[in-house]
Symmetry: C2
Subunit: 305 residues, 2 copies
């Protein structure tokens, strides 16, 4: 077999990659998600781009081990359903894996939550390679969370994905759709920083980071201090629940502001009397935006969890 296809379905774009058994991406394509289009249209475009990718890379369908797909929100890995009601409303509860497999001569198709796929990618060919346990937080338009235990993605009750990005960090903080106040996502995700910035006349999360860094803007600095404090608390609770070998951060906000997240996480680790520093590593994801695609392909290549 020459490799597998990894598909990373995001809220704004869908990335396709032809991934070799050792985790290299040898061809790629990207299309817009168009989340408001009917499901049938999106499904048809995914089929079409996958076929084109195979043409690009020169692989015959029978030389491909299968297709792995990472997508936002909860998925039903057993039945191949996307369950997301927030980020991809039209795709919710639609059967996805089965029809795609049928179209490609019953090639194996596996579905995984995108945050899980990113961690699988890092474990397959990135910063989590060789680690037995890891927790990854991916900060972007939301905070994705994923847990690797004994080298496999951990699923909770009913096979569902635990939404670690929604751990409580500030019980009297802003209200989140998840049902509580002051979860990590509602303070540290891009839209949360933007919303806080809008209240002090700044447009976009990067403007808030910039104003805080330039000093002289105490309100912007307070927002970023809040992100830092929220990160300390999120890391604290992860250290005291999972105590993982590796605490991994990824996503656009982390890529642009890693020192802030690293300092907050290290501060929590150093303070945690009941967790031995030397057993836990804090690190940044190394595959960047490719982690989800590589991890999706690894669902097939590793016959992973």
């Amino acid at each position: 077999m020459k490799g597998a296809i990894g598909i990373d379905v995001g809220g704004t774009k869908i990335a396709f990659g032809a991934v070799t058994p050792d985790g290299r991406i040898v061809a790629r394509r990207t299309i817009a998600t168009q989340p408001d289009d009917p499901f049938e249209s999106g499904f048809g475009r995914i089929k079409h781009e996958t076929e084109q990718l195979l043409v690009d890379v020169g692989w015959q369908a029978d030389e491909v081990s299968g297709i792995g797909i990472g997508c936002p929100g909860p998925v039903d890995t057993a039945r191949g359903l996307i369950l997301s009601v927030y980020t991809l409303p039209g795709w919710s509860n639609r059967e996805f894996a089965g029809p795609l497999s049928a179209h490609f001569n019953n090639m194996p198709v596996r579905l995984e939550n995108d945050a899980n796929a990113a961690l699988l990618g890092e474990a397959f060919a990135g910063a989590a390679k060789g680690k037995k346990s890891a927790v990854m937080l991916t900060l972007g338009t939301g905070v994705g969370g994923a847990v690797l235990l004994d080298g496999k993605i951990y699923h909770g009750a009913g096979g569902a994905h635990p939404e670690i990005g929604h751990v409580s960090v500030l019980p009297d903080g802003p209200e989140c759709y998840c049902g509580t106040r002051g979860c990590y996502e509602i303070i540290a995700a891009g839209p949360a920083i933007s919303d806080a910035g809008a209240e002090i006349g700044l447009a976009g999360s990067e403007a808030v980071f910039a104003a805080a860094a330039a000093e002289g803007n105490a309100k912007a600095a307070a927002i970023i201090d809040g992100v830092s404090a929220a990160t300390e608390v999120a890391v604290w609770s992860i250290l005291h629940t999972y105590l993982p070998e590796l605490m991994l951060f990824g996503g656009g906000i982390v890529d642009d502001h890693w020192p802030l997240f690293e300092a907050a996480a290290q501060k929590s680790l150093a303070a945690a009397v009941l967790a031995r520093d030397e057993d836990v590593t804090i690190a940044r994801a190394t595959l960047g935006n490719d982690a989800g695609m590589v991890g999706a392909a690894s669902l097939i290549l590793q016959n992973g969890s």
Copy 2:
């Protein structure tokens, strides 16, 4: 084999039980811990009481599968060391399992953290029987936490016990020895409630519960409301990290005030949009003070984790 010996080492007393392969306690003994005595004295008393228990129950040493021991704080399960520096200072880093085994003709001796032992007991013969995943919080002089995944106790990085009782619930709350402010233990454990009560002229945690229940004492009610709110947040973060099939509560404070803990936990579960209610059960431990002893014995009887 007629059974195993389960020993539950607590801060104030040590309980010994002869436990049958189906989890019944057929004989028991209890002695004071005397934590300030030298380790050698405590070790000698444990040997002696174990011998006496075998006489009581009429089991020969070669009819016993082994000895399981649950004890406070971190333990090194591989080397058979108690690592606790807070609750049993004199016992810290002392080799325990090896010498005890040597004394009893090299009978297997296994050590486990007491909170883990309690959950193993519930899984062996109590409320967690048949559950694949469970998180247990045991509220007493501290808040013990334990996690069962795939029927085995989960250990974190370096084989250490994650101290779930110290998840963050109120970042600006009281300071705890664990290194943070406002962890669950520093708000909801017995001494925490007592300390808060002392500040308003009440002696002991039960006096605070009684004054709050009698109404008319707004300050006492505020302390108990704080315990309730802290429980909601702790449950929230456990639902969003482990998403376990079973969320189990045990310990003296829970035994006396279960409706409060049940209501707080159910409130969090009902609010958690991203965790399906029907997949998660909230329950109270059923073995009471015997859970640790039965669980310790189950380390041997089940050849458990």
